[in-house]
């Protein structure tokens, strides 16, 4: 469903991605991990064209993201994205956050959008907070709202960019629980995260990146049981011993 072929990207002289190739099948959950600054977030933002690439091709559901003249807006409306810092619209209530895209992009009626918003917010256990503003919610609650906002667009795939990195430790699980549930329902997901417990539990594959390159791209079991590269071994030993 998502196919990334030989992409490279530079910020000026500095190469952030070099020759990355991977793909995500329908219903697959792929975790992207690696040390900070390894290009994970950049890679995932290339998938829906938030970041342009200079070389290579990305194809999502038969649509070439990297081609000139591609209707990116239309494609993006079908791919949900969750950000590290939530990025809820602070001047809108939770309800309005969930309805904006549905109304303006999908053209749903007020009632239709509202009903969808209530169903989704209820699912993440925040129905009582639906008319509050993001600033009145905890980080964990905000991230659950952000996931619901993405789901309100009925996406064919979901991208998560370090969804728990900005959260206090006690709030991480409430967000991961929602993501695990989503994965088990068969959602296609690409998740940048350091949560190796989550990766082990639901990921079909793990992509390990270092210095802008994909170093390993293997089944979850194989990656954790028997990492091939020294860099992955080192990374895992650092992250798992804590």
């Amino acid at each position: 469903m998502i196919s990334i072929e030989n992409i490279s990207k530079w910020y000026g002289e500095f190469q952030v991605l070099s020759d990355c190739t991977s793909n995500v099948e329908k219903g697959e959950v792929v975790v992207v991990c690696g040390p900070s600054g390894s290009g994970k977030s950049t890679l995932i933002k290339c998938v829906n064209g938030l970041e342009p690439v200079q070389q290579g091709t990305i194809i999502v559901e038969g649509i070439e993201v990297t081609a000139k003249g591609t209707n990116l807006t239309k494609l993006r409306s079908r791919i949900g994205m969750v950000f590290q810092h939530f990025e809820l619209y602070p001047h809108m209530s939770v309800r309005e956050n969930l309805c904006l895209g549905q109304r303006k992009v999908l053209g749903r009626s007020h009632d239709e959008a509202n009903e969808k918003a209530e169903t989704l917010i209820d699912r993440v256990g925040l129905l009582a907070h639906i008319d509050k503003f993001p600033g009145e919610l905890s980080g964990g609650q905000q991230q659950r709202v952000a996931i619901s906002r993405a789901l309100a667009m009925d996406p064919i795939a979901m991208l998560f960019d370090e969804p728990t990195s900005a959260l206090d430790p006690e709030m991480i699980n409430e967000v991961l629980d929602v993501m695990v549930e989503l994965a088990q329902e068969g959602m296609t997901m690409m998740v940048v995260t350091h949560e190796m417990g989550f990766a082990r539990k639901v990921a079909d594959r793990v992509v390990f990146m270092d210095e802008g390159a994909i170093v390993e791209d293997r089944d979850t079991e194989a990656f954790f049981g028997n990492p091939e590269s020294d860099r992955a071994k080192e990374f895992l030993s650092k992250i798992l011993n804590h």
Binding site: T73, F83, E87, Y89, P90, L100, A150, L159
Partner: protein, 218 residues
């Protein structure tokens, strides 16, 4: 000082009130027009399309390098030449103020837009909103909320500047005060009174700005 006569003010109150109404009307319309045009200029400058942003930058820099009074003259004398018929002091002054203030407002609004986190734009993009939808629903509402105090401050300055319309024979509050002062021979009373009225209005505006800033940080 024992021949101060306050009654001159009371006697001419309707005349002065007419002048004040004109000042307030001109300020209100110029603020609205300036903000609308200023928003477009700011968006043009931030568009990232070189010819578009250059035109906007050129306009802003040109207008900011000339005195307001000159702009008022331009429109008073040049617009009738271009249109082939006079448009009257009020409209030419209004157009001049809108064009002039837009240049200042666009700089304020540009800073306001840039104060909105880039992540907010990405969130809008990721939902599939178009550029204009993101500006309209996500960026501008947040930008304006951050900018209200400084926009009001600019409005206060504009209110004071409306006194320049005497050059195109408009009878604003300042001009009305002058006329009364001279015809009644009561210069001291009238100019003190005029200063008092400007002070009250502008000071009230400043207090309002301070309250806005407090409620924002609270």
């Amino acid at each position: 000082m024992d021949n101060i006569d306050i009654s001159v003010i009371l006697d001419n109150l309707p005349f002065l009130w007419e002048g004040l109404q004109l000042s307030l009307l001109l300020t209100g319309l110029a603020v609205l027009g300036g903000i609308v045009l200023g928003t477009f200029l700011a968006l043009m400058r931030l568009s990232g399309i070189p010819p578009v942003s250059l035109v906007a930058a050129g306009y802003v820099n040109l207008i900011r390098s000339v005195p307001l009074i000159l702009v008022i003259f331009w429109f008073y004398f040049l617009v009738p030449l271009a249109l082939g018929r006079p448009i009257g002091g009020f409209y030419s002054a209004l157009i001049a103020f809108v064009m002039f203030e837009a240049a200042y407002y666009s700089e304020i609004i540009r800073a306001g837009i840039q104060s909105v986190r880039q992540g907010q734009v990405q969130a809008g993009q990721a939902t599939g909103l178009s550029y204009w939808q993101i500006q309209r629903y996500v960026v501008l509402p947040q930008a304006f909320r951050n900018m209200i105090p400084i926009l009001v401050t600019q409005g206060i300055i504009l209110f004071q500047d409306t006194s320049l319309v005497f050059v195109v024979s408009l009878r604003d509050f300042m001009t009305a005060s002058s006329i009364v002062a001279r015809t009644e021979g009561r210069l001291a009373e009238m100019y003190v009174f005029a200063a008092f009225v400007y002070f009250i209005i502008c000071f009230a505006g400043s207090l309002y700005v301070r309250r806005l800033q407090k409620s924002k940080t609270a």
